[in-house]
Subunit: 144 residues, 2 copies
């Protein structure tokens, strides 16, 4: 394992949120940073194993919960009812998502959330809106 974990971007990010710097946290965050897209617990677990990081299923869940609580990562629910995690790039999570109906991949779209005007029933209070685009991603569209 690297002997200067504080030097990595992941380590810096964790320290900045007052968390203890542990093997699993650094590794998970590095996976998320490298992925550039949302991943399920399972995909993250596989990536950790590939990187030679021994870990427990529960620890992974708790690590991700901590990352979400610290505002470092965000969580969303896919059509397959599995939660997906990604790094929270810019504060509140106010940008559209694209969900590939073929492979289940979820990517964050860069453009800001377009303002939408919807009439809510009386008494309802709106906190935030989430725009989800469904379709087929580039890699799935090429291959069969």
């Amino acid at each position: 394992m690297p002997d200067h974990p504080h030097a990595s971007p992941a380590g810096t990010l964790i320290a900045a949120h007052g968390g203890r710097l542990t093997r699993t946290r650094v590794a998970v965050l590095e996976v998320l940073l490298a992925a550039g897209q949302s991943l399920t617990h399972d995909e993250i677990g596989v990536a950790l194993s590939r990187n030679g990081i021994k870990h427990d299923r529960v620890t992974l869940y708790r690590t991700l919960d901590w990352l979400v609580g610290a505002g470092v990562a965000h969580r969303m629910i896919g059509n397959d009812r599995a939660r997906r995690f990604g790094v929270a790039v810019s504060g509140p999570h106010e940008h559209p998502h694209f969900h590939c109906d073929r492979c289940g991949k979820v990517v964050c779209l860069e453009g800001a959330q377009p303002a939408v005007a919807v009439s809510l029933p009386g008494g309802y209070r709106l906190d935030r809106t989430e725009l989800l685009l469904h379709g087929v991603c580039a890699s799935c569209d090429k291959g069969p």
Copy 2:
């Protein structure tokens, strides 16, 4: 139990889709029609029991699958990662949904989906967009 199941709106709807008219199907569809909002399998199960309809958990899943396959009902995933079912009122499911973050209730909003312009990465193909509004519903906002 009623002795003329074909006479009910639920019975007519089922027959129109070439399905067999069974106790569970009629009862489930009646519950959905009466609800006016999306329900989880569990909520539907409770409603069935209240109506004195004996049923099995698996049968309920399969009944709901059939209803979705026949285009009579639609399915969506809530933040609690449970599937919710509702009657498909108007063909494709192209209207916004409101999700109450307090009680988890999901309601279909009547207004049509506003057109949104989002730039998709190259090679991505868009099928449909889903607009999800998060907030607190009227009944949750009143009571603590």
